[in-house]
Symmetry: C2
Subunit: 425 residues, 2 copies
Amino acid sequence: MKLSAFSELARRTSEPPISWLMKLTLDHPHLISLAAGFTDHESLPVSEARQLLEEILGSAKGGRQALQYGSTAGDPELRKLTSQRLQKLDACADGGPYSPERVLITHGSQQLLYLVTECLCDAGDLVLVEDPTYFVYLGIAQSRGVRCRGIPIEGDGLNLRELDRTLAGLKKSGDLKRLKLLYCVTYYQNPSGITTSFEKKAAALEILRNYERAAGHPIYLLEDAAYRELRFAGEETPSALRAGRFSERVIYTGTYSKPFATGARVGFGVLPRPLFTMLHRLKGNHDFGTSNLLQQLVLRALASCFYSHHLAELQTRYSLKAAVMVKALREHLPDVTWTEPRGGLYVWAKLPPAIRSGVKSKLFKAALGRDVLYVPGQLCYCDDPSRRKPDHEMRLSFGGASEAEMREGIARLGDVVKQFDRRAK
Amino acid sequence: MKLSAFSELARRTSEPPISWLMKLTLDHPHLISLAAGFTDHESLPVSEARQLLEEILGSAKGGRQALQYGSTAGDPELRKLTSQRLQKLDACADGGPYSPERVLITHGSQQLLYLVTECLCDAGDLVLVEDPTYFVYLGIAQSRGVRCRGIPIEGDGLNLRELDRTLAGLKKSGDLKRLKLLYCVTYYQNPSGITTSFEKKAAALEILRNYERAAGHPIYLLEDAAYRELRFAGEETPSALRAGRFSERVIYTGTYSKPFATGARVGFGVLPRPLFTMLHRLKGNHDFGTSNLLQQLVLRALASCFYSHHLAELQTRYSLKAAVMVKALREHLPDVTWTEPRGGLYVWAKLPPAIRSGVKSKLFKAALGRDVLYVPGQLCYCDDPSRRKPDHEMRLSFGGASEAEMREGIARLGDVVKQFDRRAK
């Protein structure tokens, strides 16, 4: 029998790069991974989690609650704390868009991204993404048959002129009716490290609104704030939820995995009401609720001072690690440029354009041969027929690797790049 | 703007009954829920989980591992233990179908059911389900636009003659090309309590195989063994993985949530190789891996004797609770029939056919008015145009309710039923 029983979705789904990147990392004990978005291993809150779980399971009542099923939307107290926390971060008095009723707790924010896309997009529909963007989101789009268009980004986020130009083009071609959302990683973007200013988010929402009539339906801004709390320089930037009447078009997603513990997969979404209703249903079918034990752990961390203390430590740690990485880059990769990181986990390193860094490039293989792994920049660009994918960038993470590993890894990367640099000249 | 931006999937997805049933239960503190598939609250392994987590987090190395991301497929050690455990339960020397390489760890077995259906079924495709079946699976099918046909069950599982007749009918109508799988809850079935004999599973696989040529693709048996370990009477029944050459068509799914702690959502699938490859990709997009902390907890429970000790306790407890429920049914609902439970969490109570028990029935409302909730049997039947849904059954769970609650709840249910019984006569 030649034909498989696979669905159309399965037949089109390719191997997500994150799977083989994670596997490469875990399978090669000597590999220096500058690729993985793992959090700093040394700083994982082992003693904090131990104490919190001891408190939770130390009482029969709390213990049983944590070990029992909860409800599909998530623990009511965690939803409330999440709502309050966001309102505080945004310094916003108007609680409406932040209502706990709009908060859905998920198994990591990745699950929220999946549910949103499933809820809004049919195969053939369109989403706008940043150029470059979070490559795992591109895997969701690829699997679901969703077409992407890339919007270039600048130092403070989206190039608004390009956004408008792309929307006008879609209107002209008739494709606007298939456009469902604009996906932006707004804080210390994965991969570029750039933060979108509040003004740009508000302006983008207004631009999108201008095209809704022609689209015939709402066009949402999906604000992925996964790295928001990992800020170590600069001021707090309000989320798009503060954008007044436009907040009805904002889907905000965040996570407690990266700021606390990646092994406890707890993320969340703050959703416009019609989307909440629908995602709640979809979540019911997917797994009918996020692990209560994980939720209780995160809830206690938030309610005590453990979460904020740990976060402050993490911020200091990542600030130092980012500095180590930047120093090593200056020393070993003099021809590379990057944006100074102010938060998050990544440095986006641009090689001279003549040097290719892609999955099949000699550079990537040579680096692997020296036991160094990076994320090829190429992977972070969507398949947009209107432009060629840049292929001379690397996403380097200062999250998982130790300081010594970063120094060594970047020194080796420097050696490898020098060979190609000479050849390119 | 009238049109929503929802996908076709979202537009067709109705509220899953589990969401409102769970919500009703959690929102009514005085409600006696004989509906929820919650595990026995008193017996949740609080001290065991406390000790195991203390061991995990008591060492910096193990603690960090548990709090870090893992790989998409799941912890290698947990995959191995799962494989060994199944092989032992099945008393099978041929390890092939049980290979750890085929084990995928998921956030509860519900997620596995979702991924399998997403992997195999397009909207308009067909699955065969038992009549009655696990109603949450029907939610997945409904949402994904998958049509269902119900196969009646008997005391030892599927009515094979009806299975064959249905397949022949689909062949004749041309619909066989859309048939992807047969879904069976094979142990202490949710909702009927019935266990499918090994012989019937093997025979069903052979029957399915006979129709594959006409279908043009493999037709899988999705064996949902969620309640397998909650056995308190009778012999162990081997899984369909033992069915020799037919095991290539078996998708086996189990869970550690119900036998250990429902708050720790860890389930798994054992998959034919092409399906493993594909589900691994889909899982990468859904959430790129199950919480490592939860996996380490389950792994330690399995590797120590905590899991088996706890399970033995649970089995004794559920055996007693089932007896309490059955005694109360005999006393208060003399006109009701059921199959004696030998495992699992449910008694499937059949009222006299004249008494309706559905969501909109007076009986359901009257029971709710007396603060008693059951799952209307109607919800457990798929939308199969070839037969009318029976509407005189109730799924009663002896999992979540205490013995006193069961006695009181069933006494109240008896009062309510008596009123309708008199009217029906």
